[in-house]
Symmetry: D2
Subunit: 360 residues, 4 copies
Amino acid sequence: MSSTYGKIFRISTFGESHGRAIGVVVDGCPAGIDFNEIFIQSELDRRKPGQSKITTQRKEADEFQVLSGVFEGKTTGTPIAMVIPNEDQRSKDYGHISNQFRPSHADYTYSAKYGVRDFRGGGRSSARETAARVAAGALAKMLLNFDSITIQAYVSQVGKMKLNKEYWELDLSKTENNAVRCPDETMAQQMFDYIDETRKKGDSIGGIITCIIKGVPVGWGEPVFDKLHAELGKAMLGINAVKGFEYGSGFAGIELYGSEHNDEFFVGEDQKVHTKTNHSGGIQGGISNGEDIYFRVAFKPVATIMQDQESINALGQKVIVSGKGRHDPCVLPRAVPIVEAMAALVLADFSLRAKSNRIS
Amino acid sequence: MSSTYGKIFRISTFGESHGRAIGVVVDGCPAGIDFNEIFIQSELDRRKPGQSKITTQRKEADEFQVLSGVFEGKTTGTPIAMVIPNEDQRSKDYGHISNQFRPSHADYTYSAKYGVRDFRGGGRSSARETAARVAAGALAKMLLNFDSITIQAYVSQVGKMKLNKEYWELDLSKTENNAVRCPDETMAQQMFDYIDETRKKGDSIGGIITCIIKGVPVGWGEPVFDKLHAELGKAMLGINAVKGFEYGSGFAGIELYGSEHNDEFFVGEDQKVHTKTNHSGGIQGGISNGEDIYFRVAFKPVATIMQDQESINALGQKVIVSGKGRHDPCVLPRAVPIVEAMAALVLADFSLRAKSNRIS
Amino acid sequence: MSSTYGKIFRISTFGESHGRAIGVVVDGCPAGIDFNEIFIQSELDRRKPGQSKITTQRKEADEFQVLSGVFEGKTTGTPIAMVIPNEDQRSKDYGHISNQFRPSHADYTYSAKYGVRDFRGGGRSSARETAARVAAGALAKMLLNFDSITIQAYVSQVGKMKLNKEYWELDLSKTENNAVRCPDETMAQQMFDYIDETRKKGDSIGGIITCIIKGVPVGWGEPVFDKLHAELGKAMLGINAVKGFEYGSGFAGIELYGSEHNDEFFVGEDQKVHTKTNHSGGIQGGISNGEDIYFRVAFKPVATIMQDQESINALGQKVIVSGKGRHDPCVLPRAVPIVEAMAALVLADFSLRAKSNRIS
Amino acid sequence: MSSTYGKIFRISTFGESHGRAIGVVVDGCPAGIDFNEIFIQSELDRRKPGQSKITTQRKEADEFQVLSGVFEGKTTGTPIAMVIPNEDQRSKDYGHISNQFRPSHADYTYSAKYGVRDFRGGGRSSARETAARVAAGALAKMLLNFDSITIQAYVSQVGKMKLNKEYWELDLSKTENNAVRCPDETMAQQMFDYIDETRKKGDSIGGIITCIIKGVPVGWGEPVFDKLHAELGKAMLGINAVKGFEYGSGFAGIELYGSEHNDEFFVGEDQKVHTKTNHSGGIQGGISNGEDIYFRVAFKPVATIMQDQESINALGQKVIVSGKGRHDPCVLPRAVPIVEAMAALVLADFSLRAKSNRIS
């Protein structure tokens, strides 16, 4: 189990879906940041269940408490512990699967690896764990504010339904206006209907989240192994249900010739170095070059569905797994703040690592 | 700069393209492994330049020396240092770019981050650095032999030319039979011709490498942040020119419903747990489930082309960058052993981490 | 701030003396350990204030709660979070020093380093933080039980009052029989009286804790930098008020000739390898050799005294610091379980690291 | 095996006493440092064998080569690899002990831990490995020059022969004037004679090295676990033959009352905060306070002696181990630069960690 991320701005998360609480300790956050509890809660609210009829109807207030590391409204440089009590612990919903391995869930692998397994709601493998990341990510965003960095994610595809616009054609301030978190209102409505239909069928569907980061200074990222996009990729792939990551031109870029793909440099009117195109996605040689960073994250359809499926139990006997409980038919809308949080955690760490590179 | 990878099986690479040598120190390799120098050299030979007319014509023997950690043919548990001297140091080839920022290269970002830059052949940002990873990866493969794990990568796409077969339809033993490293001979010839045409135009082209890992025991991977696929993704994204990573159903899987995508469990004739389908790509909840692991890695077209491009120099003045020297028109064929090496390094580390999970 | 310790059995502590709570997250504890809450509480009770008239009269129940990582009485392999709420938060006791730098405290250095400082009871620099270590150390002891390892510390010196007996001449089961935690009853009484006199004078006094570890298998420790005694040393020096560490023959051993100091090997009646003497303190070349491990830890007199002292405030003005509040005149008796806890944490980590060294 | 030290300024050493070479890779050294090869060689010369008749008569030029990370005389921010070839590889000197466990050496523990052992000259457990640390430490000193920090170690005790002067009573510039590296010339001569007598008897003797560090800014060190003195202690205890570490008042300080031991603050004529006394040894709460840092390191007598000793071989049979080869009767004189190097490595790492604490 490795629930620790980051080299300098380092988080350790803990907690199971139906245990007493989930939470996070942030070790390495600099002192002197105004600790904005309202902002943290608002980020948690973006992720919490029960937001609309296309998200799970579970009720969790997801109210966090800070236990340490903040004094008179400011971070003190000491570890910041945040805890979110679990309220809705209907473990009876899960008794029927205590001994079953649900298809494409982590039941089997956790059982095989650890021998013991908290089966209630997926235990540690539940996406509920990501609430702790969102709390820590909100703190990371506060740190990144000092560099005026913005991180904005949105849903760009649900199933086969694809938003065919580039990010600069969109008004990203509209992302939070609808339940899907797609900044294009027409597409958002179509996606909403599609997810709702899928829900009614007792099925689930995947999609893509696009994330745009603006304002990262030139020079963040630590080649050769901790390249900026490599850490972003690791962070995204560490989110439940993620199957793929691409940045800049990504998979599509392979079909271009080098003469088409290369980003030529010029000096802009702002007297700064820029590139004419940005196939590089703001990162060259693993280091930010000052252009917008953008990447795309693929989420598979949620494994929990409201249909009968064949599987086996811990004794290897054939069983029928029936979906119960309250689940998301599509994880994408609630995953938007998670993608942003993980991106913020990666950048916060690199911002501090960049400072440590200097002679004086 | 972070040139260290791995938590227990940990490598530190060093060296610039045109410095005295490149190399690697492996700290954490268990004692008692038969150290097969011939195998290591054969892996390096798969990566070395000058293999065919579609790879760079630079001549580097890439002969490695082991400096430590091996005694009477066996690893001793102490750090294993391997060094590959640089022979072909024609730095005069690079004098003309000492002050220029080549488009889509790391020249600008390294200059901005470090102030100082070894411009000869890309210095540290050169793909030459990956030879050290291949040497370490060969050692990792020796460790993985104890678990009978095989890692086989191949070129599955070049530009728009795509091999439309699943890996189980291919005879992967044929991969090394051609210069492209595509196991389908007809497609290999087409790809070869396409790359050669691209070379003649002084241009470059990207592609996809698919990697298949068989034999990984159930239980490797460390959620929630160090999921097996998250580390594989980081490792692949850390290879020069990589723009994307997907495993299992990947980006295509998002278009399936959960009822289609879920992998149902059953007990096979071998009395082991299996899944009927393998959209999970052998990994569930970040932990290997015993099925084949497979993933795809997207490489952009190489930035160095033999055509004139606009750019700027360190003073911000407009310049024309002209391609010189001897470069690969397509990095894919030589990247196959690099993908395998990085996969081996990830797995070797997780094999040791898995041992440390146990009570006794 | 680095409040994380351990490579595999890794703890992150958090919390200030007078904040909402202190606590710890243990990431990397193997699954399947019977989680003995009563034992953990009993270890915390050994450290808690108010045990006798020679310890501080503050009242803290130090009752811990486990938030995660335990299911049906067993560890699950996931992070274990333990929290100890702070009950006695009389911050008014500290208002008078909010702006003062108490001599030999961390007030000045924390202020200079972080800019912000939680001055209540020393904040993060308070020894209260060590309660979290004791909780985690109790868990580490449970893991070490599988190897039948015992860790026993005791007070061997207070001020100039020195117990002139070797550990094998003592009955260590008597350590907990008295308030000083010295296994020699006569000496314990003398030490008690001495500490009590010191208390009445409003002064404080230091001393030495000796720690004996039995049952460590041959082969734990990771040279060249993470030698077993080097990590023990780091762990001990990380405890508040510690000024020195020695193991085996220690500082006294330097006066011996090699011919006197060397430990000759023989095979004992148990058919195991032993040494005739044990100046090595059970560790050779940084690796345990199967003999008893023993070391000594020097604690300075507590900085807080009930006498007036000259100092300065944050403005650099001369002030008189007057001791108030309820403090320990001698930290040694309550530090015994802390020394044991840190030793247990070091060994738990090395026990898991040792497993990861093996080929199969 | 953990041959890696440091979090940001991170070194990985490698090499056996009689292998092809020893060396070190430094990952995380900032760019732009003037790389002074002559200084590095001069530091290696202070450590090399054959300096006088009281050190081993082995001949090793210990000439280093830099393989990477330096361009046009400056560090580039990329890993710096330095290699020292082994010249004097008389392995025949060691054939007689290939199967024997020399008393108080690491032969037995390495054999038990790793199964395989390079017995030539102690292999990896040889103090020869420390040459790589000295090379890296010289680089660390160059980094610390930017803060005008000086690190000066000297021999303060040999056997029972003790230099009874405080460091401020000594002229530390005289340390290098004699073969013992004691700045007091009279005492140096006595120590020299004593070591030489010990050598003639075929025996060995231990001692103490005192180290003084001046100029460390306020604020270095990372509590609660990575306290500045805790890392110094770990680094010193990681040097071969070290048995103890104390800083500031150390073991002697335990006999003082708090009212005697506390260091009162005042503002000096330089308008900076100072303490009237310095029992704290320049570190409070694990963080440097701007005063001189001083500590003492205890070295046991070298295990290799020219006398017959009883022991066993790998089969458990009783054998007589006879000293052969060329060894140091007292390791102290040559250990002075090693102590300085390790101190420099600790401080270099903390200097970079301190930068990463800041908001902007």
